[in-house]
């Protein structure tokens, strides 16, 4: 991954023309929107919104069922989205891409299905303290159910994973290591290739939470050799309710169903049921067909820009933002300083002003940021804070957005008499 700071070839202002939300007039008395909360959920370009609408308008029918033309067209578009998904993350086979609602569901699927079949009392799972609750709570529940034990990789002083501690914890011989590629709360990019390689050498399977990496940088599941990768469509310009679990075919084929019912069966009698092949065995019931088709359009949009280019744009903005933030009195930023180890996420505290107050004052200037614990309470505890304010970047952000943020933070300081 090249993170040398080169001028971005993406023009955030031009990109914004593709996004209807940025064409809306601000409500009365408000200045134009600065959207810095893409790590929570991105905005969507017209091509994605139109694709969803077009699916319902022209090719709507349930999939994998009807033998009539409409149903065939709907099925074709849904499976086409799966091919686009496989290309986007370089999966060896589209069947390895299971469509789910979001990252949370993807991880719950693995925890429930793989966990119930493979975890026994005393077995160990290895997570890290920087995980989003969605890569933490499902493991706690299945560990409790199966009598398994969870270890956590600690952090270094500059909020990276402690790789020495990681290697020591691998001596506990975990059956599975589950770690975020990029921290949603502080933007740390974890050395995932090295983590996967070491996990495998210790005999563990590797699940990567890709919710914050797949939307923002090139991710190649085969090159990384991950066993499972979970990510959400709505953080990468796609519809809410679209998402993907990638899993190696051998592993998925050996796993029992997660949810059961319609469309995931091969043959059902009153005595016994046999299950469908991949991916249908993990897609019980009518899926979010139009939304996954929309996600396919989002992936094509991102591929047309080029994921290297997307990453480069964010690095350039991040570099600018981190430098500008130094001018704000009382500001403490979290996460690594090295841009190679940092995604476009800027988490900070401002003096003793609570994150919600910072966020409200920014909102008065129509600047949207996230404030709170970012669903990563153990990490907040490690940092010694209850909450941070988080600004996160994407393709439609510009240096002007950063300048507005900086001005907003000076304003917050003034309201609280700190400047």
């Amino acid at each position: 991954m090249s993170t040398a700071i080169q001028p971005s070839t993406i023009d955030g202002l031009a990109i914004r023309k593709d996004f209807p939300i940025f064409q809306q007039a601000p409500s009365e008395g408000r200045v134009p929107l600065v959207f810095l909360d893409s790590a929570a959920s991105s905005q969507r370009p017209a091509v994605v919104i139109d694709t969803v609408s077009d699916f319902y308008a022209r090719t709507n029918a349930n999939i994998h069922r009807g033998v009539y033309q409409l149903s065939e067209q709907a099925t074709l578009r849904y499976e086409e989205a799966r091919h686009i998904t496989a290309q986007f993350i370089n999966a060896a086979n589209p069947r390895e891409c299971i469509f789910v609602r979001n990252t949370t569901e993807a991880i719950n699927l693995v925890a429930s299905s793989w966990g119930r079949a493979n975890l026994n009392p005393g077995d160990r799972i290895l997570l890290s303290v920087m995980e989003h609750h969605s890569n933490l709570v499902p493991w706690q529940l299945i560990a409790e159910e199966r009598g398994a034990i969870i270890d956590y990789i600690p952090l270094t002083g500059d909020q990276r994973l402690d790789m020495e501690a990681f290697e020591t914890l691998l001596k506990n011989e975990p059956k599975l290591v589950a770690v975020a590629h990029v921290s949603n709360a502080i933007g740390t990019i974890n050395p995932i290739a090295e983590i996967v390689q070491k996990a495998h050498a210790a005999g563990a399977l590797m699940l990567v939470d890709g919710a914050q990496s797949v939307p923002h940088m090139p991710v190649d599941v085969q090159a990384l050799d991950v066993d499972f990768m979970a990510f959400s469509g709505h953080k990468m310009l796609g519809p809410m309710g679209s998402g993907v679990l990638y899993g190696k075919r051998k592993l998925l084929e050996a796993m029992p169903p997660y949810m059961s019912g319609g469309s995931m069966i091969r043959k059902v009698t009153l005595e016994k049921t046999t299950f469908a092949d991949l991916p249908a065995r993990f897609e019980a019931g009518t899926p979010a067909v139009a939304d996954q088709v929309g996600l396919g359009a989002a992936m094509q949009y991102l591929s047309d820009l080029g994921m290297e280019t997307v990453r480069q744009h964010e690095v350039e903005l991040l570099d600018y933002a981190l430098e500008q933030l130094l001018s704000v009195p009382g500001l403490t930023a979290y996460g690594p300083d090295n841009l190679d180890e940092r995604a476009g996420v800027i988490s900070f505290t401002l003096g003793d002003i609570h994150a919600h107050d910072v966020s409200s004052i920014l909102d008065n200037q129509n600047i949207a940021v996230r404030a709170g614990h970012h669903c990563a309470q153990p990490l907040m505890h490690e940092l010694g804070v209850t909450a941070t304010t988080r600004a996160s970047l994407y393709i439609y952000n510009t240096k002007d957005d950063v300048d507005r943020l900086i001005a907003g933070l000076h304003k917050a300081n003034k309201v609280f008499g700190l400047e």
């Binding site: 008395g29 408000r30 200045v31 002003i353 609570h354 994150a355 919600h356 107050d357 409200s360 004052i361 008065n364 200037q365 129509n366 404030a371 709170g372 614990h373 907040m380 209850t386 909450a387 304003k411 309201v415 609280f416 008499g417």
Partner: protein, 128 residues
Amino acid sequence: MSDDLYRDIILDHYRSPRNKGTLDPADYSYEDVNPLCGDEIRIDVRVKDDKIDEIAFSGRGCAISQASASILMEMTDGKTLDEVKAITKEDLLEELMVPISPARLKCALLSLKVLKAGIYGVGHDDDE
């Protein structure tokens, strides 16, 4: 757009909270959190002749939650338990004198939630 939310009354109570601290012993202590933003409020009360004799709050959180707790102290000190029970969300929001957006309502009302939970606990004991 002005920063109406952070008018002087809020900042005054946030910087100089009334009745901040704890009472030990207290006739009751109750605390709760706002899981969304991690605001924490604890309220201790001493009751004499069915009236609030002493009341104090402690905790941490945003300016809205802490100022609201401080204002609630002023609203309730010396009042009878029945009068405190009669305080509504609207009463507290009116005393705050700033527009509270839906996203911040939980911050603004946490202190009243804590106090009510405690007071009804006290009333409960009286009945038994």
